[in-house]
Symmetry: C2
Subunit: 448 residues, 2 copies
């Protein structure tokens, strides 16, 4: 009731029906007139007073304030709907993972356990770097799997790759020049650029990022994926790794961000060593997420910082909080330290391997063996299919889109021109089912 | 076994014991020499080949690659520990909330429900703005409680205030001049500045942010808390609200970020109206989080954008993902739409109100009534205690720190000099227990 009265009076003041300086009736009088209780009028007057629509004069009463309102455009935001893109029937463009066999019940059980046994920690602030528990679990995981031997105090938790790249620019400075792989994962350079950092695009040669290009560019920081380059799948050779480390060590302020986004899924033998573990000068920042191994909907990633940078991070981040909620960090920590994470990766590696072989077989049986050539390193969750065709990548994508098929090409990962990279279709088999890939092959058969 | 062999050979290559160009024994031969299986040698050679420590020459065998290693500083990162601040016995500086009576079991039940009934949505990517479910629940909440009537498509979910401020600079541009309240919540301006945006510090007068200062500053964007200024508690008057809205509407590219961080906790009557709901020109961005109402450890906040800005956001954010995990968004959505959130706010409002009254009573009984004066508006989770003392704020803080007590003053929220704001102690009663406040009063008794 008092809110209704408050709204009516507010609207009368804004519209000018109640004029500036006008004296209002006393509370008792208005209550009698409206047949409401005095308390109702009192509450309404109190709201209007607090917001300054009224002012009171001692021993006299309540008066209407002078308020200059803005001419109204009368926009209504309540019916607003964003324009939507129509989804494709088959879409090979995203970075989704296959989560069909994720141990959901295991995860739920751990969440429940955390919530009941550690409910007081549930709302405990975890500091700018994340919970001790998750950092310790990740440190152990890295020691077991990546030959990275660091203390939990070298690890910073953050909400996914984009946030971590922003953290890197905050840490190393926006005045630095950031070298990006070209072709490369364009989302990463977009994030650096929208953080206000200048980017330079560097070509690759057979051994990895071209050292000549790095030196010519005057880049200060390199963001690279030496263990499985996206999208070509190339692995940076040992010689080039040491050349990169030597470049970084040569001059103050040079750093390398090692983006190890999917090296867990190597199909022959053990995951590769990391640039971080070969670096002894504190010039490499290791970055990884759980987007590829679990799902991009779990927004958790991490940086491993050399101690010197960690101290700089702490200094620069006093006013920042960790972007991942404590409860999810504790659940993931138990998921890793209980061994469920590595078991799940093993299972998915097998499943993705089977699907990859099945895709190769489907290509062999497609009647297109003359026109399709598989290019791949035995790592990662995608391969490249080289097409023999006079059509441009853009023409193929447009035709595919008309058929409800979303395709991504290596040329989409390129800044600037590069005919050498044309006709290379990206097949991400972590997010593509067998039937969907069949539809893609049927489409290719028709246009090739 | 093969990993051990791989590591030994890698270390021999790096150290130069195996020289560049040297031919290695055949797999069979080495296996015999080492008394291991040929497969072990094969796996080790394969790793060294993939990483480029070896190269193979057809019909000849395996050779050691030429690798220039970097001089080692031999830093060990595995024992590294960050220097820690010693925690205070009593700390009134943080922004923690009292979560002792949060309905943890209710929250767990909802999480469990989401995980079992909607396990397929659990890993569904939710798009750059967050899940439809949470945005819809927030839109309903805003309609019921803040007179904000927007569609879910006007809402963007993000991981806390810092991330949302970064999003604002990304949206409106880093080339804009951002006007900050002075005194004000310094974390906010730190975040803007570390996003690369220039900030200007604007004084307040009795009605809110000084319009003269705003106009003189040539600021393009204002970040303000009109419903409860931090730390003075002032509520911006209606007249000043319309002056601010008129200022924003006057010129293209002017915007106001309304930071409504704790207006839920008003102690007389209904929460105040919002600047967003009074704006009809699409120049206000509403920002709020669940840090004060639930806990800062739950990293969820949101922006309400006018449609024009929403479309700009979508255009600029194609390469960004929402920073909050889907499962937590779905749980919070159910928590709000099931009514638990508003029930909890009501309960906490009562509990905080009782504690506040108790603190007032403790001050009255402290024997310091001559030297302590309570200054407060009936809103928010803190009040200001004006001290009569010849000591400076810094001297008091140092003495307090020696006694294991962490204090925050209004002068800590100030950029530049401002003697008018001296001797104003901030009492945040959401994170201070009765006993702790008693210790603070004992300390004040001793020094005053």
């Amino acid at each position: 009731m008092y809110l209704y009265l408050y709204r009516c009076m507010k609207s009368d003041i804004i519209s000018g029906n109640l004029r500036a300086g006008e004296k209002l009736p006393s509370k008792r009088r208005l209550a009698e007139n409206l047949s409401v209780s005095v308390i109702t009028v009192e509450n309404a007057y109190a709201c209007l007073l607090a917001e300054g629509y009224l002012y009171s004069v001692e021993k006299s009463g309540y008066y209407v304030s002078a308020i200059e309102t803005v001419p109204l455009l009368k926009k209504r935001f309540s019916d607003y709907t964003l324009p939507q893109n129509t989804p494709m029937a088959v879409d090979m463009r995203g970075g989704q993972t296959d989560t069909g066999s994720f141990p959901v019940s295991q995860w739920c059980r751990l969440t429940r356990k955390i919530m009941t046994e550690r409910s007081e920690d549930f709302f405990r602030p975890c500091g700018m770097s994340g919970t001790r528990e998750l950092r310790a679990a990740i440190a152990d995981y890295l020691r077991r799997n990546k030959s990275i031997d660091v203390s939990p105090d070298c690890i910073v938790i953050g909400a996914g790759t984009e946030y971590l790249c922003y953290t890197v620019t905050r840490l190393l400075g926006r005045d630095k020049l950031y070298g990006m792989e070209n072709p490369g994962y364009r989302k990463v350079s977009t994030v650096y650029e929208s953080s206000g950092a200048a980017c330079v695009y560097l070509p690759l040669d057979g051994k990895g990022l071209s050292m000549a290009a790095v030196r010519e560019s005057t880049a200060d920081v390199l963001h690279i994926s030496p263990n499985h380059h996206f999208p070509t799948g190339r692995v940076t050779t040992a010689a080039r790794r040491y050349e990169l480390l030597a470049w970084a060590a040569e001059q103050e302020g040079r750093y390398i961000v090692e983006d190890d986004y999917d090296s867990e899924f190597r199909f022959d033998g053990h995951p590769l060593g990391s640039l971080f573990s070969d670096d002894k000068n504190g010039r490499v920042i290791y970055m990884n997420t759980f987007s590829k191994t679990i799902s991009p909907s779990l927004r958790i990633g991490y940086l491993v910082l050399p101690p010197e940078l960690m101290e700089l991070y702490v200094k620069k981040s006093a006013d920042f909080s960790c972007t991942v909620s404590t409860s999810e960090q504790l659940t993931l920590a138990e998921f890793i330290s209980g061994g469920y994470y590595e078991t799940y990766i093993g299972r998915m590696k097998k499943a993705y391997g089977i699907r990859r072989e099945r895709f190769f077989q489907m290509i062999a049986e497609s009647g297109l063996s003359e026109k399709l050539k598989i290019q791949e390193e035995s790592a990662g969750l995608h391969f490249i299919l080289a097409l023999t065709t006079p059509l441009s990548d853009l023409q193929i994508k447009e035709k595919a889109s008309e058929n409800g098929i979303g395709l991504a090409f290596l040329s989409d990962c390129l800044v600037g021109n590069g005919d050498a990279f044309a006709h290379s279709l990206l097949v991400n088999y972590s997010n593509t089912e067998e039937a969907a890939f069949g539809a893609v092959l049927d489409f290719l058969y028709d246009i090739l």
